[in-house]
């Protein structure tokens, strides 16, 4: 059976060129970059090259890149490290209500330790209003953290504008760019960001490696104490193979970004148009235009996400959902709730995330296979034709 992967938010394959670049660092080039001898030296050079490539992807200086073990670590590091370094200055963080768990839960931990938190609302498209950011700033604010692109609804936030406000008030600004870096243009200078998280596995690099951009002069404490790897900001022997892989993947992402976007955008727009056209009572979630080129998020009324996913899986179509039954905590997506979507309607969430290898044929297949699955489940659903139409959000 033909496998159609429309769940690139969960995982992407590592590019063969990336794997090829990584392989020597498992065996012949196995040195420790901290060593003085030549075994270490060649590895240190390779890490330096990876750092340059990652820096180039986001228009940073190589000295501003700290390699980490994943996007989650980068986010934890940015939040906890900044708060720790600014203890004397203040005790207040501003964030949004639609952040990834690695921001949301890290902030909950800080909150239990006494940090004050303002969680900004979003509109029905999942968009933060920069004016709300400005209004929330107090003399005690030490960090603003608002994500760049949301992995679940696709909405891309007005980061440049929020960054400008943060800068005017001399407050460090962090953005979680895991869903965007390597996918759409990210420029830390133009976007006025001081800290930015990214992860290799979102742009055809390996899992288990990420980076945090820390602008020169921004105060931050390390999460991990130990040796003086990563300029003293991230102790621990470097994951050399993965870092080399991230560098290569970043180089390719920078080179191929526009052609990947040009390829995915029409597919995304077809899905956003043709799925609601093929099935009644389907609503598109997230912003119609300020949106990731690889993200299609819809709500199918009267049915539940997991049951759709199981039937689609039998047909070879792999997608995700924000339904409560899918999540480990059995809670409906906090992102959709924050957008004002009814908890019942959010159960019918379908999240399709495109990659560079998806095709028009994939879209054709989804548009052909999905309607009978939905109808079958609706015929089984006590909500179908009983309740009035549930309002999605906008």
């Amino acid at each position: 059976m033909r496998i159609i992967n429309l769940d690139h938010v969960a995982a992407v394959p590592v590019l063969p060129e990336v794997v090829k670049e990584m392989l020597p660092y498992f065996t012949e080039k196995y040195g420790n970059p901290s060593s003085i001898h030549s075994l270490g030296e060649e590895v240190e050079e390779a890490i330096g090259e990876a750092r340059e490539r990652v820096a180039a992807l986001i228009n940073a200086d190589p000295s501003e890149i700290v390699f980490t073990s994943c996007g989650t670590e980068s986010n934890n590091f940015a939040l906890k490290g900044t708060v720790q370094a600014n203890r004397a200055r203040g005790n207040h963080i501003i964030t949004s209500s639609i952040e990834h768990f690695s921001i949301m839960h890290a902030i909950k931990t800080l909150e239990r330790q006494g940090v004050e938190v303002t969680r900004l609302p979003v509109d029905c498209y999942g968009m933060v209003d920069p004016d709300d950011v400005e209004k929330a700033i107090t003399e005690r604010t030490v960090l603003i953290s608002v994500m760049h692109g949301n992995n679940e609804i696709g909405t891309v936030q007005p980061i440049t504008e929020i960054g400008r406000i943060a800068r005017e008030h001399h407050i460090p600004f962090h953005t979680d760019a895991v869903a965007t870096a390597g996918v759409i243009p990210v420029d830390v200078k133009a976007m006025n960001v001081d800290l930015l998280s990214l992860a290799a596995n979102q742009f055809y690099g390996p899992k288990g490696v990420g980076a945090l951009f820390v602008r020169k002069g921004v105060r931050i404490e390390p999460l991990l104490d130990g040796g003086i790897q990563e300029n003293g900001l991230r102790a621990g022997t470097e994951n050399v193979m993965a870092i080399v892989g991230m560098g290569k993947a970043a180089e390719i992402a920078a080179r191929d970004m526009q052609s990947r976007i040009d390829h995915m955008l029409p597919l995304r727009d077809r899905l956003m148009k043709e799925v609601p056209a093929a099935i009644e009572d389907v609503a598109v979630v997230g912003h119609p235009t300020e949106r990731l080129p690889n993200n299609v998020s819809v709500l199918v009324r009267y049915v539940e996400g997991e049951s759709m996913l199981l039937f689609l899986d039998m047909e070879g179509i792999k997608i995700a959902s924000g339904s409560a039954c899918i999540s480990r905590s059995l809670k409906v997506s906090h992102v959709m709730l924050a957008m004002g979507i009814d908890a019942g309607a959010a159960q019918g969430s379908l999240l399709m995330t495109l990659g560079k290898d998806n095709s028009d044929q994939d879209v054709d297949d989804v548009v052909r296979v999905l309607p009978p699955i939905v109808q079958r489940l609706r015929d089984m659903s006590p909500l179908y034709k009983r309740s009035g139409k549930v309002k999605a959000s906008c």
């Binding site: 539940e304 049951s307 199981l310 039954c325 480990r328 809670k331 089984m380």
Partner: protein, 161 residues
């Protein structure tokens, strides 16, 4: 994730639908939890002659509903009232732990349909209990299950669930 029996009942659910002029109707769950099950029964001589269901929910919820109808048809009302959550899980050859609480509501819906029937027999209206938020509580925190308890203590404390 699911046993073969669960997948079979999910793919080919038995006794889906409504019974016109049903003798009893029972419903459990709410859409916010992700599962709603409505059961319809036809009773003759104190025996469940027919049972049908409609379910909004995940794969487990559909499979649970389907197998409960099979377990119930032909039983006396008393026997049917004794169909337990555990018996349903055993009949399905197991359910993932996180589905034990949330999706295993088929027997409850059946029992409510029987209570509805019995109330009507006595000429009273049956008032179905309101399903409060406890129906969709985090099952991982459900300390009934000692195996999960250490995980509970850390994760649920941390996340405030």
């Amino acid at each position: 994730m699911y046993s073969e029996i669960v997948m079979d009942h999910f793919k080919n659910p038995r006794n889906v639908g409504e019974i016109p002029n049903a003798d009893g109707i029972g419903e459990v769950g709410n859409p916010a939890c992700g599962d709603i099950m409505t059961f319809y029964i036809k009773v003759k001589d104190n025996i469940l002659e027919d049972v049908k269901f409609k379910t909004f929910g995940c794969g487990a919820a559909i499979a649970v509903s389907s197998i409960v109808t099979e377990m119930a048809i032909g039983k006396t009302l008393d026997e049917a009232m004794k169909i337990s959550h555990r018996a349903v899980i055993e009949a399905l050859n197991g359910l993932p732990k996180k589905k034990h609480h949330c999706s295993n509501l088929g027997s409850d819906a059946l029992h409510r349909a029987i209570e509805d029937y019995l109330a009507k027999q006595k000429g009273r209206a049956y008032h179905k209990p309101e399903d409060g938020p406890e129906v969709c509580n985090c099952p991982i925190c459900d300390v009934e299950d000692p195996e999960e308890a250490p995980y509970c203590a850390t994760v649920c404390d941390r996340t405030g669930t």
